[in-house]
């Protein structure tokens, strides 16, 4: 009798908590969205694993020069950064691939502003093989054949008679998407391609596997060999050096981007201005990527100071 009363008190309490939880859940499902808008002394940068070291270096140097500002940099993949931008949980999204139209539309729908696309550095996408691999150059169609599963043995491209083991990135990676669009021409990866969480992990895997092949940003290549890439069989192989990448001779080079939901203001704008200045660009080379050419740099700087309706293109 008495226990029943105790239980009914308990049940009423539990019911009250459940109702409160449901209401709280219903009300709070939209993210704040404030992080993306106004300037605070706390800037978040999320996104590309390729760019995370670069972002951190920029953040360090900027914070040294501006003591009132904290800049937090996290990785997770370009897709993660762009999703965070759309969800309103970051000020800046780092991305090693251009944003898709659908993603830009999502930002417009969420915040009512156009995305501002800012190229901040240049990267050559290197293709890595084990140091003992006799292959020194491959053409883009050959790389496509290898990664789509059409070519499965090294001897088909002039190497030893061994199976090719593919290493790739997870599908939240901008590098993955860029490689898919530009090298595979939108074809699917071979299901046998093993996915690893970052370029460093890809390099680590290839360095342990004499039959392996992997791809990633040029800054990471320790202990493996990067091969020369040629556009097709007739052109000569090109090394992913800075001169070749900036002169657009290396076939797989790309811009690295920062994305904002609308033109940045306040501290975020200060950071962006500094990053595309000569000062900021000198940091890029130390990290191992390639700074923007002078024309690209002035174009980016102009985007930041341009009219408020500067649309991302």
């Amino acid at each position: 009798m008495k226990t029943r009363k105790g239980i009914s008190i308990g049940l009423t309490f539990v019911l009250a908590v459940a109702v409160a939880a449901v209401f709280a859940g219903c009300g709070g499902s939209e993210p704040a969205g404030d992080a993306a808008k106004t300037a605070t002394s706390n800037i978040t940068i999320k996104g590309s694993d390729t760019m995370v070291i670069l972002g951190q270096r920029w953040a360090e140097v900027f914070m040294q020069k501006n003591s009132g500002v904290t800049v937090q940099v996290t990785g997770g993949g370009s897709g993660t950064g762009i999703a965070a931008l759309i969800n309103g949980t970051t000020s800046i999204a780092e991305s090693s691939r251009p944003m898709k139209d659908k993603e830009k539309a999502d930002v417009k729908a969420k915040f009512g502003k156009e995305v501002l696309e800012l190229p901040v550095a240049v990267d050559g996408l290197a293709v890595y093989v084990h140091a003992s691999n006799p292959i020194n150059e491959l053409s883009v169609p050959q790389i496509k054949g290898i990664y789509t599963g059409a070519i499965t043995n090294w001897k088909q491209v002039g190497g030893k008679n061994e199976a090719i083991i593919l290493y790739s990135r997870e599908n939240n990676s901008g590098t993955y998407v860029y490689f898919k669009e530009h090298v595979l021409q939108d074809a699917d990866y071979d299901p046998r391609a093993q996915t690893l969480p970052g370029t460093a992990a890809v390099i680590n895997a290839v360095s342990k596997d004499s039959k392996g092949i992997g791809y990633g940003g040029i800054a990471y290549g320790e202990g493996v060999k990067h091969i020369k890439v040629k556009q097709d069989d007739k052109t000569p192989g090109v090394e992913p050096t800075m001169e070749n990448v900036l002169a657009a001779k290396y076939p797989i080079s790309r811009y690295l981007y920062w994305y904002f939901a609308g033109p940045p203001t306040g501290e975020v704008k200060k950071l962006a201005d500094w990053v595309v200045s000569k000062d900021g660009q000198s940091v890029v080379e130390n990290v191992g990527y390639y700074p923007l050419s002078e024309t690209d740099r002035t174009a980016s700087a102009a985007k930041l100071t341009g009219t408020p309706t500067a649309a991302g293109q």
Binding site: K2, T3, K5, G6, I7, I9, G10, L11, F13, V14, V17, A18, A21, G25, G76, G77, G79, T80, I82, A83, I86, N87, E103, D106, G149, A163, I165, E170, N171, N172, Y176, V177, K180, D186, D188, Y189, P191, R192, A193, Q194, T195, L196, P197, A205, K208, D209, K211
Partner: protein, 329 residues
Amino acid sequence: MSAPVATVISSATPELARRRLWDRFVRGFIHVTALMAILVIVLIFVFVGKEALPVLTSSEVQKEANLDKLFRAQQYGTPEAPLPYVWQPVSTEPKYSLMPLLLGTLKVTLIAMLFAAPLGILAAIFSTEFAPTWLRESMKPVIELLAGIPSVVLGFFALIVLATLMQDWLQLDYRLNVLTAGVALGLAVVPIIYTISEDALTAVPRSYRNASAALGASRWQTAWNVVLPAALPGVFAGIVLGFGRAVGETMIVLMASGNAAITSWNFTEPVRTLSASVAAELAEVVFGETHYHVLFFIGTLLFVITFILNWFGSFMVARLRRRLTGAER
């Protein structure tokens, strides 16, 4: 010498009333806490299920991912090289076949159980039937220490050490494959099987062993033919719970299985499991996309599978208890 009978019987004294009120309050509070635990589990299921529901109800989501596309063979690939099951959600034509993931989970779990079940059960038999007391008392905490190793450490161990060992020993093509991930997963599952089997074996009454010895059976004959069959429901429950743990384990398979969504019965190739897919991909999806809903659908699937397995495991343990303490004499 007058016995205070009247005061004992009557509950009208203030102290007694206060004690009764306090008792009722504490009992109610404990009931509430227990109900909260159940409530949390129910709420988790409701939240995950709510986000997974559009796969079954929304026509827009079903254009890309419906039950047919998730589970049945499709016409992907080319006519010369058909690929019936493809998991490639980030693509111009997203492909959401769950079969490679289900098969991958199954393969890794199978290897883990083949590795862990004999080890765990035999260790438990040794511990209860053969080991001297001092050894038994030090074995149990040490094996349970193995349960305390973080799964990311096990995954790291598999990635750096185990993968190279297995590739050299078995001359495998792939470094990260089902065998490597399965063995590492087995290491995580052994303590569960050991603990529950050991409890089940200890619960078998001594009279069984004495009767068997009286009939002239050796220690091993007693252990294998008398004690183990008597403890079988409990041992089986341990295996089922270990299976449930293996199915849901994420970090080890994320690091050691290669994460390639292959559909084949080859155990020397990499695989992609359900849990690793969710862990790797959930961070990137935009809330509300088809990919997002499919990942929550996978989460619901995992929840349901492990829920059923755990329920079945505890049902078997209850049966063991009833059989040994109730019916038998």
